[in-house]
């Protein structure tokens, strides 16, 4: 529980700042309403008025919690108003994108480490790919997918997600596969090991700690990619679509709740990846 205390302290501070921000930001509208009705406002009335608006500039924490609770537990999980339903839509695209990103990242890293030509030709493009804003690219991917006859949104979303998540895996795996030092390589040479044995017995196991470290970044990037893929016009399913609909159709509470639903989903995914990492560490004899 000693680990929880610092985290809870930070959460407490954030909540306090958040409430202050909510009172401050929402007070303008509350005061205008009071003036229009010709009423005076005590400070306590003002605070209450800023906490209970249907369309606040900044939703108060408890409003978000209520909206989130309603979104998760207030509807059947198959309902279009359920965050569980939308969460699964986003999760599906995230996991496909994550898997695709890992395959692409690891595959390119292996090619880069084994071929100088690939290293020099592919690596700069991989870096450049990450400088293109994904919000600009996402609609194009969706439109192109649609144009070639892919009706389902899952594929373009997974591609956008993989576009973001392959990069951390690639960079880490290149470092990891190059981690073995000269002595370790010399040792295998004295055994007359061939290239594939060097890869399977030395490079790959040496790269695994790098791989797992990159997964935590990659899973978060995958989720962002999936959500961005749900933003372009026309999307109605997924947490990204819920956020956009909430903001465009005057339902800020839904937008805030969807945002937190996405954050919670990210937390769950990172914990899941961390658990896999610890299991792998134990298997590989890391001291714990």
């Amino acid at each position: 529980m000693r680990n929880a205390l610092p985290v809870l302290t930070v959460v407490g501070v954030i909540v306090v700042i958040w409430y202050i921000a909510a009172i401050w930001m929402n007070s303008t509208w509350a005061l205008q309403m009071a003036e229009r009705l010709g009423r005076d406002m005590e400070f306590t009335d003002l605070v209450v008025a800023t906490m209970t608006q249907d369309r606040p500039l900044v939703a108060a924490p408890h409003q978000v919690v209520v909206a989130l609770w309603d979104g998760v537990f207030g509807h059947a999980v198959t309902s279009k108003r359920s965050f569980v339903y939308h969460g699964f839509v986003t999760l599906e695209a995230t996991l496909w994108g994550f898997a695709l990103g890992i395959v692409i990242g690891v595959g390119l890293a292996i090619a880069i480490v084994h071929s100088r030509a690939v290293d020099m030709s592919v690596m700069p493009w991989a870096v450049i790919s990450q400088t293109v804003p994904i919000v600009a690219l996402a609609p194009m991917i969706v439109v192109v997918a649609n144009a070639v006859g892919v009706e389902d949104r899952l594929l373009p979303k997974a591609i956008i997600s993989a576009y973001l998540s392959f990069f951390p895996v690639l960079v880490s795996m290149v470092s990891g596969l190059r981690a073995p030092n000269q002595m370790q390589l010399d040792l295998l040479k004295t055994y007359g090991a061939n290239r594939s044995q060097v890869f399977w017995k030395l490079r790959l196991p040496a790269s695994l700690p790098y791989f797992f470290a990159s997964l935590k970044v990659a899973i978060a990037a995958s989720l962002i990619g999936a959500i961005v893929g749900e933003l372009p016009t026309g999307a109605i399913n997924g947490l990204g679509a819920r956020m956009l609909i909430g903001s465009q159709f005057g339902q800020p509470l839904i937008m805030w709740a969807a945002l937190f639903a996405a954050a919670i989903l990210a937390g769950i995914l990172i914990i899941a990846v961390g658990t896999i990492q610890r299991a792998a560490d134990r298997r590989m004899g890391v001291a714990r």
């Binding site: 010399d186 004295t190 055994y191 007359g192 017995k201 196991p205």
Partner: protein, 261 residues
């Protein structure tokens, strides 16, 4: 004792091209190592002793001269797994257990599982590490790790052991102990050992022959046949014979200007 030649070097030279111009790591080095010899290479850093060992192991290629290992080129000797190499650092894979580390060369060389297990067991006994098979390297002391790395080099039963300052990073007490164990191992297995060191007592205590080298260019200045008996308790190092050999090594180093700046 047979007189079979294991290593035969003739006018061996190796020049590294560096940014500061060529460096003569080895210059006209000639040496024969017979089967069953324990040969130490001693000299200050830069004298080419490690380079010489790496040439024998086909980890470096000479720029001039000839060298044969077991009557073939070092490359063929390496491919026929003629030698086991022990590095200065144990270099055990942290993700493999001690047993797994020793199995590594056996896996690469394609031994079946039963044979792997049998050999791991037998070499662990040789280096006094029986019972540590399932431990991970970080659970062992530095000396034990180095013993495990020697076991790894012994596992595939090569007749030649090339050791590059294997005990250089260990403290003197552990080093004494490992020297004693290495001698008894050599006695039991009748291997040929080439041993790089920069410790005079270690070289004299272990070797049947001591090759004194000096730097710039790296060359052999003296080859000393040890008069000490094969059976050597640790306290042989206090005898006049031992001190005399040590003195001659020091003289050889001095003649190679090893003590000058």
């Amino acid at each position: 004792m047979t007189t079979e030649t294991v290593i035969s070097a003739q006018d061996l030279s190796l020049t590294f091209e560096t940014n500061d111009g060529p460096v003569n790591a080895l210059k006209d080095v000639s040496l024969e190592v017979k089967k069953g010899d324990f040969v130490s290479f001693i000299g200050p850093s830069g004298c080419g002793k490690t380079t010489f060992l790496r040439v024998m192991a086909d980890l470096e290629s000479p720029t001039a001269g000839d060298i044969e290992v077991n009557g073939t080129s070092p490359a063929d000797a390496r491919k026929s797994r003629a030698y086991g190499y022990v590095f200065q650092a144990a270099g055990l894979y942290p993700w493999r257990t001690i047993g797994g580390n020793i199995r590594l060369p056996l896996e690469i060389m394609g031994y079946d599982r039963a044979e792997q297990a049998r050999r791991v067991n037998s070499v662990l006994g040789l280096v006094d590490l029986a019972g540590f098979e399932k431990k991970f390297p970080w659970q062992l002391s530095g000396g034990m790790q180095q013993r495990a790395s020697i076991a790894r080099a012994l596992a595939f039963n090569a007749d030649l052991l090339l050791m590059d300052e294997p005990f250089g990073a260990l403290d003197e007490i552990v080093r004494d102990h490992l020297n004693e164990q290495l001698l008894s191992l050599w006695e039991k297995t009748n291997k040929t050992i080439c041993f790089v060191t920069h410790s005079i007592p270690e070289a004299v205590y272990l070797s049947t022959r001591i090759v004194v080298m000096s730097p710039r260019p790296g060359r052999i200045t003296d080859v000393i046949e040890s008069p000490l008996p094969r059976d050597r308790p640790l306290d042989i190092r206090d005898t006049p014979e031992f001190l005399e050999v040590a003195h001659r090594v020091r003289e050889g180093l001095r003649a190679g200007h090893s003590y000058e700046d």
